[in-house]
């Protein structure tokens, strides 16, 4: 079982890194697009380029989530393997990562509060979504770092 645990652990880390790359690319393109759109400085060519980045990021996210789900399905029938793969350190890192996700969301809110002060926000829903994405990215980034340390 041990080699299976190490194989799945390596796979999980790989897919999670891919997920993180997708998440960061998505967030970066999303924020740039949102800020430029709000300040009415978004050129058509740049809007198209950012839309392509967003689409690619979604594809990357989809691919990584499929991979992570494949691992979850592979270990679900083997309780010992599942227990070893999601051991107490992994579960602790999940919990600790939540804190960083929350802080990232708060940082996102603070950023947009300042932004709103300088230039009143038109699309409030998009800003709320962005805060959510920032929280999710913060969570993913924190988990990856904790898992590596």
């Amino acid at each position: 079982m041990s080699s299976s645990v190490e194989t799945f652990d390596g796979l999980r880390r790989r897919y999670f890194l891919i997920y993180l790359v997708g998440q960061v690319a998505f967030l970066a393109a999303w924020v740039v697009r949102l800020v430029l759109r709000e300040t009415t400085a978004l050129a058509v060519w740049l809007d198209t380029a950012l839309a392509i980045v967003l689409l690619l990021a979604v594809l990357v996210l989809f691919y990584s989530l499929l991979g992570l789900n494949k691992i979850r399905r592979a270990v679900v029938s083997d309780p010992a393997l599942r227990e070893a793969l999601y051991d107490e350190l992994v579960r602790l890192n999940w919990e600790r990562a939540w804190k960083y996700g929350f802080l990232a969301a708060m940082a996102g809110l603070a950023f947009f509060a300042v932004f709103n002060f300088l230039s009143p926000v038109k699309d409030v829903f998009a800003f709320i979504l962005t805060t959510f994405f920032a929280g999710a990215s913060g969570y993913a980034f924190a988990f990856y770092r904790l898992d590596r340390s």
Binding site: M1, S2, V5, E6, A84, L85, E88, L89, V90, S149
Partner: protein, 70 residues
């Protein structure tokens, strides 16, 4: 693990005594090799349950495995 809290441990010595690799110990107590590594290096303090499992695997006591540094 709170900041400043550390435990010394004799995992490496015990593993050498049993001629086990980290992977072998991980297999016996049902965790990943990385978890064993972080415990052995003092980065992570295991739960009481896992500490007891380790002690049982080595046929020793938790106190023999983990100590509060003087």
């Amino acid at each position: 693990m709170r900041r400043g809290e550390r435990l010394t441990n004799t995992l490496k010595v015990q593993r050498a005594r049993m001629d086990w690799s980290q992977e072998e110990l991980a297999r016996r107590i049902g965790v990943t090799r990385k978890t064993v590594n972080t415990i052995e290096n003092g980065v992570y303090i295991p739960s009481t349950y896992l500490a007891l499992k380790m002690a049982k695997a080595f046929g020793t006591t938790v106190e023999e495995l983990f100590q509060i540094p003087e």
